[in-house]
Amino acid sequence: MALSLTVNGDRRASAADPVTPLVDILREEFHLTGTKPVCREGFCGACMVLVDDRPTPSCLMPAALAEGSDIRTVEGLGTGDALTAIQVALETCDAVQCGMCFPGMVVTLTHLLATSPEATRDDIRAALSGNICRCTGYERIVDATLSALAVK
């Protein structure tokens, strides 16, 4: 039986095994390669997507469990060519290096911006404890988040 998934507003079908991690279907079948499988064990956050607005590591989510939910990947965040507030802030702060962690960072921080308008530096760092970056040393990501919060 085919799986039916709603990804970035589109309904899509997949014939994959139901316990296939969502990340693999997004990437290999739907070619939404913004979502990165880096650790496949819930520690790095590079595979983070929003499932019904909640940041969820897609390496740990079986595709069957995502049926009926609104799945939003990093590709589905802005509208058209426009960047979202957090993307603008990260670009302005020159935060990006290799970029592999950023799709997941953007997903987690999108949620933070929406739910924790009062977040402090330490709150932001704590919110990122499941999003690892190997390149940047985090500070600019935190700075950018604070500046995005200030704009809001």
Partner: protein, 791 residues
């Protein structure tokens, strides 16, 4: 040229797509008809292959090609060709490739792997350098004598893959002086995994008799040449292109999995993608090597270092690889920083039956700086001198000799130490902590270099006023290709950096390049790009001078125009001039090439070295405050400060980003990231649960001061800035923890158990009994005069 316009803080052109998940790294590439590959790896550290039968696998569903050792005749290496693609008859490490399969899906490829019938007869293994150097130890390469030597000069013997030595002056005499204290220290460090977020990945295809390899690498030309060598085909049959690279840090400075995909593509006639699993990356990445160091110094009571000797053992794993080259670096890292009356150093790359090691940001510099700086603190304590005063007295300055006898230019480290004083005082740390934790602080110095070497660049002037920069440079995340290079070209031609189109690396399009790493992008590729841009400039000015009727010397290029100096708005747009030039003479382009000039060393000082002296030294001064929990051994970094010698900062904001990132990687090395090898020879940390990278809560904002003005042959006076930030982090944390605890810190990383062990005196002093007491007894090939070596 307008120098000012080359300095700017501007954003990266690749950021937007990276933030939107649109960037396609190699692991994201997908070609029509593409197959998926997987590699069968040995699960013993040492053994003889009795049987390897792939016939069942070949009949499995979806399988399109299987390749084994028979398909890859060549061997590669640095210095010596000791490394085949697949284990041939003999297995030398757990994880060594045995066969590779391409199938319609990855699951099919993996299922087929499981049906390959392998029988391996285990052989005795040497898993540590102590075992490897023991008398009568089994040889990792019994046929080492027969290997092709690719670079002459290294001494080799049995499990010693390569030995490099430095002897300058009469060390024995220095140690025999009656007015010196002899200080001896021993150190040991573990491996470090790069954990580049994009694992090693490749998509290969085979068309019209040539391989096209798209790969996640820092070294497209090495991939081209080494793949050809392994496969036994002419290098011209291999084309390498490189999409954006998702992190590298030295991991991707060597050939990796490219030949598997190439062979499978040729065998199947279809494109093949191969991406390492995270576990493969964790177990077989080309780690920063584990090392063991003994260092001894003869120092006068007033703090003059009259003699220094050291033995450095570097574990290269089962194959020589990068460590062969890195034996060279000891002279400039452990032998760096300070003025030495006389010195002798030996560094040995040692084979073990473990996964091969490789290059990692500042390579051997990181642990040699740790050893040197801890040793320096031990010397200062012994002679009762303030450690900072001792450093100030001894740091290399203008006209001083390095270990190999090269003459250093300019006073750099001393004013950098002064600069650090101001940074530190502004911060005014408290020395006692209210919560009972132990406070410690330290300042260290470090010496690294820019790995210059051949680079080529072409700049094509387009009639629309933009230019295309064609090089074999790769954007690995550091921003050099997105920021420095366009800045240099734009600055030369009076364009905006955005008007410089940067061509992604393609060995069919651009000339030879050593690779992106060793801090060399801005320097070598930058210099080649600068001279290519200058050629374009000269041509354009000539055409413009006819159009504007002014002498070329009177013209300037700025803001997209060629104008008469001092008369803004005069002249013509660059596009106009380029269009005219194209119509009159044909399209305008320029080419540039660069390679390091080579700095002289003292004759006879070095043996087995790949370079005798360093073209561009880079210095760093780091300082930190830590708090140590006496009951759990947790080390918290309270403040971290860096004064870094950058020559000239083209894009200060980008350099700051590199420093923050590099320091945090260093904090991982110093405090969290540990690799251990089990009794069967397998790395125990197979994922992110056990290999602990620093997280957002574990880091501090680094206070940074860029030190400009030190001499450099780099373009516009630049030096590489991206590699060096990690250099003395391990050293600084170690010295600060020693300062806080009063204990002799001899090992990294300083994980909570290791620190608690120190505090509780649970473990005795580190003893390295496989390092012979007399320096000369550690050599397979004597170096120096009889008097010096006392043999």
């Amino acid at each position: 040229m307008s120098e000012i316009s080359a300095t700017m803080d501007f954003r990266r052109r690749d950021a937007r797509d990276k933030l939107r998940g649109r960037t396609r790294y190699t692991m994201d590439r997908y070609l029509p008809g593409m197959l998926h590959a997987a590699v069968l790896r040995a699960n013993v550290a040492s053994g003889r292959i009795v049987r390897l039968d792939t016939s069942r696998a070949a009949r499995m569903r979806g399988v399109r090609a299987i390749v084994t050792a028979a398909d890859a005749p060549g061997k590669i290496g640095i210095g010596i060709a000791d490394h085949p693609l697949f284990a041939r008859d003999v297995i030398r490490y757990d994880g060594e490739p045995l066969a590779a399969i391409a199938a319609d899906t990855l699951a099919q490829a993996q299922a087929a792997l499981a049906t390959i019938d392998v029988e391996i007869a285990p052989l005795p293994a040497v898993l540590t350098m102590a075992e490897s150097l023991a008398p009568a130890a089994p040889l990792v390469h019994p046929d080492w004598r027969d290997y092709e030597v690719l670079f002459e000069g290294g001494a080799r013997s049995g499990n010693v893959a390569w030995e490099a030595t430095v002897v300058r002056g009469d060390v024995d005499a220095a140690f025999a002086r009656s007015d010196v204290e002899i200080v001896e220290s021993s150190f040991r460090v573990g491996r470090q995994n790069h954990v580049a977020f994009e694992p090693r990945a490749v998509v290969a295809s085979y068309e019209d008799g040539r391989f096209h390899i798209e790969t996640s690498t820092q070294v497209p030309w090495t991939i081209r040449n080494a793949t050809a060598r392994i496969l036994g085909v002419p290098p011209s049959q291999v084309r390498v292109t490189v999409p954006p690279v998702g992190g590298a840090f030295g991991l991707k400075f060597d050939l990796a999995i490219e030949p598997f995909a190439a062979l499978l593509a040729r065998a199947s006639g279809q494109p093949v993608r191969l991406v390492n699993s995270r576990e493969e990356e964790m177990l077989t990445c080309l780690f920063r090597e584990n090392a063991e160091i003994r260092i001894r110094s003869a120092v006068t009571r007033d703090g003059e270092i009259v003699g220094r000797e050291a033995v450095v053992l570097m574990d290269c794993g089962a194959y020589g690889g990068e460590q062969i080259f890195l034996t060279t670096m000891t002279a400039h890292t452990l032998g760096g920083n300070y003025r030495l009356g006389s010195t002798r150093l030996v560094s040995r790359a040692v084979y073990t039956n473990t996964a091969p090691n490789g290059a990692f940001r500042c390579c051997n510099g990181v642990y040699c700086t740790f050893a040197l700086e801890r040793h320096t603190d031990e010397i200062a304590a012994r002679i009762g001198m303030d450690p900072l005063a001792f450093r100030r007295r001894n740091v290399l300055g203008d006209g001083d000799l390095g270990a190999t006898g090269q003459v250093f230019e300019g006073n750099v480290l001393a004013p950098m130490l002064d600069r650090m004083d101001t940074l530190r005082e502004a911060a005014a740390p408290s020395r006692t902590l209210a919560d009972g934790r132990l406070f410690g602080r330290a300042t260290t110095v470090g010496t690294w270099f820019v790995f210059v070497g051949p680079s080529a660049a072409t700049v094509n002037m387009n009639a629309d006023g933009t230019v295309t920069l064609v090089t074999s440079g790769v954007e690995i995340g550091s921003g050099s290709m997105m920021q420095s290079l366009p800045q240099i070209v734009a600055g030369t031609l009076g364009l905006k950096p955005d008007d410089v189109v940067v061509r992604a690396a393609d060995t069919d399009a651009a000339g030879y390049d050593v690779g992106v790493g060793g801090g060399r992008t801005t320097v070598s590729l930058g210099a080649a790009s600068l001279s290519a841009a200058q050629e374009v400039r000269t041509k354009l000015l000539k055409v413009a001078s006819e159009m504007i009727e002014a002498a070329p010397e009177d013209l300037v290029m700025r803001q997209g125009r060629i104008e008469i100096a001092g008369a803004p708005g005069s002249g013509r747009t660059i596009a106009d001039v380029a269009t005219r030039a194209q119509a009159q003479l044909g399209p305008v382009s320029g080419t540039g090439a660069f390679t390091g000039a080579g700095v002289p060393a003292m004759p006879g000082c070095v043996a087995g070295h790949f370079i005798d002296a360093i073209d561009i030294p880079v210095f760093a001064v780091h300082d930190c405050d830590v708090a140590v929990d006496p009951e759990t051994g947790h080390v918290e970094v309270l403040n971290y400060r860096v004064v870094q010698d950058v020559g000239r900062a083209l894009n200060p904001r980008a350099i700051h980003g590199q420093i923050q990132g590099g320091v945090v990687q260093g904090l991982g090395y110093a405090l969290h990231e540990e690799v251990t090898i089990d009794t069967h020879g397998r790395v125990r940390q197979n994922g992110f649960e056990t290999y602990r990278l620093p997280l957002a809560l574990d880091v501090v904002p680094v206070e940074i001061s860029l030190y400009e003005g030190a001499p450099s042959v780099g373009p516009l006076g630049t030096k590489g800035a991206g590699e060096v930030p990690i250099l003395n982090v391990g050293a600084t944390i170690a010295c600060a923890v020693a300062n806080a605890t009063g204990k002799r810190v001899q090992e990294l990383p300083l994980t909570p158990p290791r620190v608690l062990e120190l505090l509780l005196d649970r473990k005795g002093e580190l003893s390295l009994s496989h390092i012979a007491e007399a320096w000369v007894d550690n050599l397979v090939r004597p170096h120096g005069t009889a008097a010096q070596n006392r043999k």
